[in-house]
Subunit: 84 residues, 2 copies
């Protein structure tokens, strides 16, 4: 595989999995006060549009990374409203 | 311009600017406790690699979006250590 494709896959994996420790922290601490609601909403709409883009250009990595990120952001939004 | 390109640009703009309200909140509230340090570090490395990827494939939108996001995450990391 091209080096640059590997860089792209690592980049996509990192920006996707980065929300896992954030979900874990909010879940465990039952605290989401310092998370910006505007950030979560803008990011959710953004990754949803990236998913649409991914389907349109038939890019499985783009679809997969953004769908997973979208689900993690949905969990954060749920926790934000539950523990505000 | 193609509809799908517009969708991509809107998506990139949203996921980039989403960190502005988060920086504003952390700055104003002087509180970053609920932000996961692991999330910030993984995301910072991820967007840095996306920037490398952008330079490699000569994609100005990828470079611009990820450099701006990287700077915003750096500010959040700084605030995380300042107001922990």
């Amino acid at each position: 595989m091209d080096t640059i494709l590997i860089v792209g896959y690592i980049a996509g994996t990192l920006t996707t999995i980065s929300f896992i420790p954030q979900v874990a922290r909010a879940w465990k601490m039952k605290e989401t006060r310092d998370l910006s609601l505007a950030m979560l909403v803008l990011f959710a709409v953004g990754v949803l549009l990236w998913t649409v883009y991914g389907f349109w250009v038939s890019s499985l990595p783009v679809i997969a990374a953004n769908m997973i990120t979208f689900l993690l952001i949905l969990v954060l939004l749920f926790l934000k409203f539950r523990y505000k």
